[in-house]
Subunit: 251 residues, 2 copies
DNA sequence: ACCTGTGAAGTCATTCACAGCC
DNA sequence: GGCTGTGAATGACTTCACAGGT
């Protein structure tokens, strides 16, 4: 059954560190912008600034790909664009399905960034029969019943889940069973998948909570010159009979 | 000035490692689910499984917050929910503005997860005069002209940018000038902000590219027993005359 | 003179493994 | 016997600093 260990055994990625892989798209974007302005070469310092990282990191990152620069000169923009695209697998195109065409799913379907870089929305899928056939982003929504067929017919290996949390795990299992091996999950749930399947998640609520944490620290920074008061101890007040405490609710 | 060094000087966060902070929301969500099912206590093993991490990591994470568990027993669910909420600053509420009410902005405005945990959408702002006054998610869209006033009137310190890439930096600057110190950026651009301002980004296209990278590696895993063939040179295919797309080209 | 590529050092994060308590 | 809390070990990532090429 493979419990939810999304964790791949080791940084199995023929040499390139995961942290580096995560930055390649950033470099690629910056390079593409330079390319559009017909800039022929760029130094690690300039490119790093455009990508929002420091130059030592960038050079180290590129060193994992090979020696694509020229000492005393910098990097050839077009050449690097090509090398990074190839490394990321963007020279082929990737059919993608989006499952769950609510507000978010529809927004994703309309998002231009999809098409631009080798990703192609092959199908939009929703469980609501009333949605079936309706056009979203110029494409008819299809019903979940046909999920397996759609995946196979289109050779889809990347799926985007934009369903409510409750439906996500089940959709995930169907996608995986049908052959999908990479999933981008927008539902606020932990997905468990078998080994060999990659999951990445995008979670608004988590990001906000992280910001709130730092925001709170900033606020506590007045008053404190020596001992930064931790969050404020507040009465432990455990065991609320029926939780007068945050009756919070998951998304 | 302060160039785009988002980088805070050091992990200034009174002890709690950034990686731990990023997982607290995950634990909180799992705990909330348990709380709703009235589960009174939970072991590190169980909770870790629910949150999709391993138990050693979870125990270490909690150890930064204090000793909130009981040996031989586990953690009191309600108590932990309270402690983590407090640590994250979720016991107060955070007014948030969303700037850029296109497909994505509207989807975010409708997203339930916002309201649920101390975050409150204080205003929706868009640059298009035609949008002004239109209700989205039961709330009238306001014009960018009033951005500064809205921030101040509502004491907003967290802003969400969902504008097109081209407008993001400028919107960011106005938000910061008006007093926002935490930004969640959905626009595919690197934002530069002064020290003391936190930026987190959510970028669909980057996530997909990371998935594509791993996907490509998986594909290359047949055939290879000894020397894993690097990316595979694949025919560059493409080359739009004036490509809005990567006009990829080797040197 | 300038800029890349990279060992070496330093910092941060995860995992191990077990003492201590229930 | 079961489970937490945590030093110590290991591993990953970043930064330094400079040798080496143009």
């Amino acid at each position: 059954m493979a419990t939810g260990r999304t964790h791949r055994p080791a940084t199995r990625s023929r040499g390139i560190p995961e942290a580096t892989v995560a930055r390649l798209p950033l470099y690629l974007r910056a390079l593409t912008a330079l390319s559009e302005r017909s800039v022929p070469t760029v130094s690690s310092e300039e490119l790093a600034a455009a990508a929002g990282v420091n130059s030592a990191k960038l050079r180290k990152d590129f060193s994992y790909l090979g020696s694509y620069g020229t000492r005393g000169v910098g990097y050839d923009v077009e050449y690097l664009v090509y090398q990074i695209s190839r490394e990321l697998g963007l020279t082929q195109d990737w059919p993608v399905v989006i499952v769950g065409i609510g507000n978010l799913g529809a927004a994703l379907a309309n998002y231009g960034g999809f098409a631009s870089r080798g990703f192609r929305v092959a199908a939009l899928i929703d469980a609501d029969p009333a949605m079936a056939g309706k056009p979203v982003a110029g494409m008819p929504v299809q019903h979940t019943d046909d999920l397996e067929r759609i995946i196979e017919d289109n050779g889809v290996s990347i799926g985007v889940i934009a369903t409510p949390a409750g439906a996500a795990q089940q959709v995930c299992e169907r996608l995986v069973a049908a052959g999908v091996t990479s999933i981008l999950n927008f539902a606020p749930t932990v997905l468990s998948v078998p080994d060999g399947v990659d999951v990445r998640k995008v979670d608004l609520s988590i990001e906000l909570q992280i910001l709130a944490f730092h925001e709170q620290r900033k606020a506590g920074e007045e008053a404190a010159a020596d001992g930064v008061a931790p969050p404020v101890a507040a009465k432990p007040h455990r065991k609320g009979p029926d939780g007068d405490v945050p009756a919070v609710m998951p998304a």
